[in-house]
């Protein structure tokens, strides 16, 4: 079942104003760079974006914020982004902050066909306001609903034309969860191979969840916090 499309522009061709999007990544790690660039170029507006973070001023979802394409962000941490802060304070942008594990598990529930989950995260805090609470074995849990997203846009390391995906290191993060959760799932990969070339034992996301796949290009993979240790001095010979 060939799901390969030419490029990001073709993959996102039908995303419309007001759509609800999931975007994979943690910080700038494992974000769908090509699709974000294509969305900026297409200029769709009034988007709801479900993504753990909101990028930085000049990269990631920050590029869409700069073009005022986002009406609402659903995230766990929105970090250091001056334009984001300005739009939030001026009321142009709505933000819903939810605990990171709740965010991940609401994606998981959608992909597993379950309408809701119970989680202890946020019990006794303002996050619980107005939510149903159930007691199981003496501990309280909040009812949280599965997400309902029109499109999930994810980034993987390798993929095949059937849509099977393999992620790399911590660039996996939210990507496999969102891949399962979209009504239409778009995957961009660093390396696209013909179906049959990936080892079935190594697949993280089975192709059934993926509707469109393409090989991305010109990945920048920006690092937010470059932390290093000094190299040990070479031993002097003799």
């Amino acid at each position: 079942m060939n799901k390969a499309v030419r490029d990001a522009g073709e993959a996102i061709r039908d995303i419309h104003d007001g759509a609800v999007l999931m975007l994979g990544g943690f910080g700038l790690c494992g974000i769908p760079e090509n699709c974000i660039a294509a969305l900026v170029k297409k200029g769709v507006k009034a988007l709801t974006c479900i993504s753990n973070n909101a990028g930085v001023d000049d990269f990631g979802i920050g590029l869409m914020l700069r073009q005022k394409q986002v009406r609402k962000m659903i995230s766990s941490y929105v970090g250091e982004n001056a334009e984001f802060e300005r739009q939030l304070l001026s009321g142009e942008l709505e933000v819903e902050l939810i605990p990171q594990g709740t965010l991940a598990t609401r994606c998981l529930a959608a992909g597993y066909g379950m309408p809701a989950i119970f989680t202890p995260a946020g019990v006794g805090t303002e996050i619980a306001d107005g939510k149903e609470i159930r007691n199981f074995n003496g501990k309280e849990y909040l009812l949280e609903y599965a997400f309902d997203a029109d499109y999930a846009i994810v980034k993987a390391w390798k993929g095949d034309t059937d849509g099977n995906l393999i992620y790399k290191e911590t660039a996996r993060n939210f990507n496999p969860l969102m891949a399962m959760a979209g009504k239409i799932t778009i995957a961009e990969v660093e390396e696209l191979v013909p179906a049959g070339e990936l080892d079935p034992n190594m697949i993280h996301t089975p192709g059934i969840y993926v509707h469109r796949i393409f090989q991305g290009k010109d990945y920048q993979k920006r690092i937010e916090q470059r932390t290093v240790n000094p190299r040990p001095l070479p031993l002097l010979a003799g």
């Binding site: 790690c29 766990s76 605990p99 965010l103 991940a104 989680t119 911590t170 993060n173």
Partner: protein, 218 residues
């Protein structure tokens, strides 16, 4: 003398036990990794999807696909494993992580913690903190005993919006080690040269002092 941030981390590291899976928060908690005692094997969990976090890479070996929850470039140690964010919080929720160390703006005498939101300031989000404090079996808070204005951060009740309720087990501050007990903050150790009277004066919540309080040794 009040403890330095490094000494707070060093003191918390003495709470590590062989075989622990540990989640270290951003800030002082991250420094705990530098003081893991000899002969103690712990596995560090990073909630963005890694068990077996190693030190920062050597210059030139940074890998943009390999970061920790603070978005810093890191390495892995032998035996490490990657997983997605749902599994990461699944193992936290299921109580598989033995110890969580995190910072706080306020802690109350019954173990409530506030560390994510200051009314009137831009709110950046709770990240994984609410999930961690709701589920971790053992939570140690690393914090300064007072805020920059000199006001106690150990309170009868938190004034700031809560991150979690009745969850903190122990506090290591720059002045003292305290356990959270049903009766209040129980003083366990004091920083070198810091008197019980000073700790009392800087603890707004109920403080329990029983017998001689030993001084921390470094």
């Amino acid at each position: 003398m009040a403890l330095t941030k490094e000494q707070i981390a060093q003191r918390i590291a003495r709470e590590l036990r062989d075989g622990y899976y540990v989640n270290l928060g951003i800030g002082i908690p991250t420094l705990v990794a530098n003081y893991i005692p000899e002969g103690i094997n712990v596995v560090l969990q990073s909630e963005n999807g890694l068990l077996g976090m190693g030190p920062f890479p050597f210059e030139g070996e940074e890998d943009p696909d390999l970061i920790n929850a603070g978005k810093q470039t890191i390495t892995t140690v032998p035996g490490s494993a990657f997983f997605d964010s749902a599994m990461s919080f699944g193992m936290i929720r299921a109580g598989k992580v033995d110890l969580t160390v995190l910072g706080a703006m306020e802690v109350s005498e019954n173990g409530d913690i506030a560390n994510w939101k200051i009314p009137g300031k831009m709110v950046k989000g709770m990240g994984g903190a609410m999930d961690l404090v709701a589920s971790a079996r053992n939570i140690i808070v690393a914090m300064m005993h007072t805020n920059p204005k000199g006001e106690s951060k150990l309170l009868p009740q938190c004034a700031l919006p809560l991150t979690g309720v009745k969850c903190v087990k122990k506090i290591v501050s720059d002045l003292a080690v305290l356990d959270i007990t049903p009766q209040g903050f129980k003083l366990i150790e004091r920083a070198p040269g810091i008197s019980v009277e000073e700790i009392k004066a800087k603890t707004a919540g109920k403080l329990i002092v029983e017998g001689e309080i030993p001084e921390m040794q470094f």
